[in-house]
């Protein structure tokens, strides 16, 4: 029997591509347009593209903010992608200051527009970069969302102007090196998983992450 994956529909355009990636990896995809469907999911995915304030506003408007908070404490697998990762934190500084879901401690801040050497760098950060073990002594991705990937060798597709800064370093699952800065690329706290990059747009290795989530 196919594993059921529920995608939260809160008006984001990339839902289709996320759905196709999960279907391609053998899952049955359910689209949740109401809080009850989302809460009853076996595994819940919150994709995202666009701005943090708009995303939070839509989640609240549709009653999904409380559902996500309630879902994650049931210990069922949860995956946030891009803005779907950022909204898990306490607040963001994108276009002012907006409160997030506060499921994970930390903030979301703009990517520095200068490299550590003081040179201008591209923002948004757009393109492929390898995932790195974060600087929290994590030395293996076995048993995590990133199982099977190799440190410094597995590149993923990023597109973002803001990045999460988790205050609990133990939740940091992977980093990405950009202009000399270590940005948070993925987090995991037990059943709560999230990626700043787009696994549904990251080719074969991105699909490996999706398959891993399906089996969790």
């Amino acid at each position: 029997m196919k594993t059921k994956i529920t995608l939260l529909d809160y008006g984001m355009c990339n839902l289709l591509n996320v759905a196709r990636a999960f279907q391609h990896c053998g899952a049955e995809v359910v689209i949740a347009e109401d809080p009850a469907t989302a809460y009853n999911a076996e595994k819940l995915v919150v994709p995202g593209v666009g701005a943090f304030p708009d995303s939070m506003r839509m989640l609240q408007l549709l009653g999904f903010d409380d559902v996500i908070r309630q879902f994650v404490i049931t210990e069922r697998p949860f995956l946030g992608i891009c803005v779907g990762m950022q909204v898990l934190f306490e607040s963001s500084y994108e276009f002012g200051h907006t409160a997030g879901l506060a499921i994970l401690p930390g903030t979301v801040e703009s990517i520095p527009c200068k490299t550590v050497n003081g040179e201008n760098q591209r923002v948004p950060h757009m393109g492929w970069n390898p995932l790195l073990f974060p600087e929290n002594n994590l030395l293996s991705w076995e048993g995590t969302l990133l199982q099977g990937l190799k440190n410094q060798e597995s590149s993923m597709y990023f597109v973002h102007s803001y990045a999460a800064i988790p205050s609990d370093v133990q939740t940091r699952l992977a980093d990405v090196f950009y202009g000399g800065h270590n940005l948070c690329a993925a987090v995991q706290k037990n059943n709560i998983m999230a990626t700043q990059f787009h696994p549904e747009r990251s080719g074969k290795l991105g699909l490996d992450i999706i398959r891993q989530f399906i089996t969790m």
């Binding site: 355009c13 990339n14 289709l16 591509n17 196709r20 990636a21 391609h24 593209v49 666009g50 701005a51 527009c113 201008n120 760098q121 591209r122 923002v123 948004p124 950060h125 757009m126 393109g127 492929w128 970069n129 390898p130 060798e153 597995s154 590149s155 597709y157 990023f158 597109v159 973002h160 102007s161 950009y178 202009g179 787009h198 549904e200 747009r201 990251s202 080719g203 074969k204 290795l205 991105g206 699909l207």
Partner: protein, 255 residues
């Protein structure tokens, strides 16, 4: 900096992948699905699809092609040609595109850039610029797939486009397009150094040396190519290896 991106460009007319010289003199190459899937599987970092007659007829006909392609292709897809409104952009994004590339309609009504950036994010709004050299270090913006002069200077237009919300620039040299004589390095370098967003160089690749020059001398963030791939003169792996040999960071593609 991110890895240098290798982006095959597929120009489409009707149902066919086609290719021209200086954006004119079109020849049919084959089925775009077959080529797109092959490029994805051989390690392309993104794909660009352009409906090259769309501006002429006033609509983009790629949604069906994109919808089919996106079933089996899991890298970013940019679609351009004939997108004139937020609704047109939404239609293409819902078909499976990640970004829309806009030229003619943005020149006609620059505010469209802001409207699309506000609705879908700057990352989805690629400003496509077709540039023709008109003097020493001077280029004019053309529209309608290189057919019409706009009177706009590339420098002024690209700055304005980024201010209005363009998140990436697709920069095509009309002079070099389809010639296999190499990219217009002065054009690419000028624009790359001018704007804070990523620049995709397009038009003129004939050899891996041209590719490397666009990155090192032109300072492009991403490089698009068409003929050399479509006619199987060079494959993506060869480009990737040449880049690695030149010390450029490109994505390591799993075997």
């Amino acid at each position: 900096m991110s890895n240098l991106r290798i982006i095959p460009r597929l120009d489409i007319k009707g149902k066919n992948l086609i290719k021209g010289v200086h954006l004119e003199g079109l020849r049919v190459i084959g089925d775009p699905q077959e080529y797109a899937l092959n490029y994805y599987q051989s390690g392309a970092d993104e794909l660009i699809f352009m409906d090259i007659v769309a501006s002429l007829y006033g609509r983009n006909n790629l949604s069906e092609i994109i919808s089919r392609a996106a079933e089996n292709i899991f890298i970013p897809i940019t679609v351009g040609g004939g997108i004139r409104s937020v609704d047109d952009a939404r239609h293409i994004l819902r078909s499976g595109a990640d970004k829309v590339a806009i030229n003619t309609a943005a020149v006609a009504r620059p505010q469209l850039i802001s409207e699309i950036a506000n609705h879908f994010g700057s990352q989805a709004m690629v400003l496509s610029i077709e540039a023709k050299r008109i003097g020493n270090l001077e280029w004019e913006v053309y529209t309608d797939n290189g057919r019409e002069r706009s009177g706009l200077n590339v420098v002024n237009w690209v700055k304005r486009g980024v201010e209005l919300g363009a998140g990436e620039i697709l920069l095509t040299s009309i002079d070099r397009e389809g010639t296999c004589e190499g990219y217009d390095l002065e054009l690419i370098k000028m624009v790359s150094e001018l704007v804070p967003v990523c620049v995709i160089a397009s038009g003129g690749m004939g050899s891996t040396d041209d590719f490397i020059a666009a990155a090192t001398l032109g300072k492009a963030d991403a490089i698009s190519m068409a003929d050399v791939l479509h006619y199987k003169k060079i494959d993506i792996e060869t480009i990737r290896n040449a880049a690695l040999d030149a010390g450029l960071a490109v994505r390591k593609v799993p075997g």
